[in-house]
Amino acid sequence: MNILTLSLKSLRHRSFHTLLCVLMTAFSVMAGVLVILTADHMKNRIARDTAGVDLVIGARGSPLQLILSSLYHVDIPTGNMAQADADAIANNRDIAQVIPLALGDNVEGFRIVGTNPNYIALYKATYDQGRAWTKPFEAVAGAYAAQSLHLKPGSEFEGSHGLGAGGHHHADKYKITGVLKPTGTIIDRLVLTSVESVQDIHHEGKHEDHDEHAKAPEITALLVEAKNPRAVINLPRMINRDTQVMAASPAMELTRLTAMMGISSKLLIGAAIVLMVMAALSIFSGLASSLESRSDDLAVMRLLGMSRKRLFSMIVAEAGVTALLGALMGLIAGHLLFAAVIAVIEPLQASGASALVFRPGEVILFVTVVAAGLLAALIPALRAYRTDVSGLLRGSS
């Protein structure tokens, strides 16, 4: 017999209410864990997809749209830019590397990106099968795209016009020459080919018999790596002022984006805090109401010699056990739920989201919830501390 045994027996005696308190605590922790895991994954994913790109240059329009369409491939591009403009910018002495992107087609919803092999190196992707493209209409598939479309070296496919599924098919067929290993970045969901392939398929300046429609070759965007931090600041100013195109900084635009996303994430955190307070209140109300019915038991314990401190500790231990059980259940449920969300939402799977990863935020959440539970026990524990023993002896006769 000890404090913990007594606490556990008391909790078991009030099993329905205990279960209710544990479940409420578990729900609050589960919600918190889900927010932490999702936010953390998004943050990491955004950072990984940025891949050290300092600037994105493209047609004038919304800078955020340019970043989203060129780095994350989730929005339509702002337009195209002339290849000549791109070449001029690439020759700037403050630029270490440029990677061209030519967008416009997809294969069953997976974007076909015209680029050069540096794009593969940018995401540190390596080949699982095959090799890079060497000729027009050869293509390399990202791991998730290859898996979803059953592509392997030698496979052929037709591109469709547009960036989403459902556009008209182009007559020219692509041939897969390589498949990349999974990287957990956006490249997993892309099909890569040469810029020329994308330009050719759109008949841009290549077909002599369509001279009247032919125009100068265009690309969609340039991913730029600057030579130094000063260039990252100066280049956009110069490009936006002196050229017909626009330079956008991923860091700056993502700060804006995360600020916007932050509102919803703060709402979720707020909801988790409300749940946590409710869980603490349920522990408080459970203990407080149980004290009414247990006042005789507590007085008996005091009469039998149990000190006030032990009685206080017993009530705190009851709250501690409840909060601890709830927090543990919530932690497990949060990870299980995140695993279920990953299983249902394909982009999360493709981006390498894992429910087996534990984040420092979860430790803080766990400790906070247990502390809140203990705090909720203080008033009931103080009441137990002050239990009047003499009341057990009848009346004041």
Binding site: N2, K9, G305, M306, R308, R394
Partner: protein
């Protein structure tokens, strides 16, 4: 030296004197009945003797030690390890088993757990078969025995019983008094019973009558 030595003790409640004892002593192994009507002050005297209530004035000594001078922790220890209590209604913890109720008495009294002791006390009271029974399932007679067993768990020097027979019929009242006297004799413990129940008066060699907070004889 008397086990309990009460001198010039006065207790008040709401400005009214509820206990006023000039001199009273109880020896080791004494079996004493504190008798009086409801509100006469017998339970207050018992509370004072057990260290549960500090008198407004006067001195209560247990084996020469002034209870008023002891700190709360020492009083808790004294109560747990040296006194045993049987209350009206018995007050067993209903969600614990009989053995756990007895184990609680050891733990609350600051003593180490002792399964052998529990077994022997249960055997002594002929209730071994109830060891695992939950207290809430016991009959009145069984609960009486378990309450006495709990009071005996720590080999007390004094057994206090407050109105142990008040709600009982003659048969059960007689049984519990017999049990208390028998067990107190076996343990060589003093037995102090506070009651207004005149049925049990004949069972005690010493009766202290209390009227209006004063010891009559």
């Amino acid at each position: 030296m008397a086990m309990f030595d009460v001198s010039s003790v006065r207790c008040t409640a709401g400005g009214r004197t509820i206990l006023d004892v000039n001199q009273c002593a109880i020896a080791e192994g004494d079996h004493v009945l504190l008798q009086g009507l409801s509100g006469s002050g017998k339970t207050t005297l018992m509370s004072v003797l057990a260290g549960l209530r500090k008198p407004d004035s006067g001195r209560v000594a247990f084996r020469g030690q002034d209870l008023a001078q002891m700190n709360a922790d020492d009083l808790d220890l004294l109560r747990g390890a040296t006194f045993g209590f049987v209350m009206q209604g018995f007050h067993l913890l209903r969600h614990l088993s009989v053995a756990e109720n007895l184990a609680l008495a050891r733990y609350a009294g600051g003593l180490s757990s002792d399964d052998q002791k529990i077994k022997s006390v249960l055997e002594r009271l002929d209730i071994s078969h109830l060891s695992d029974a939950r207290a809430s399932t016991l009959s009145m007679g069984e609960a009486q025995r378990v309450a006495v067993a709990r009071a005996l768990m720590n080999d007390p020097a004094v057994i206090f019983a407050d109105e142990p027979t008040s709600a009982l019929d003659d048969l059960h009242a007689g049984l519990i008094i017999s049990l208390l006297i028998e067990q107190a004799q076996m343990s060589n413990a003093a037995l102090i019973v506070a009651t207004h129940d005149a049925r049990i008066k004949s069972r005690f060699s010493r009766v202290i009558n209390i009227h209006g907070g004063r010891v009559a004889a």
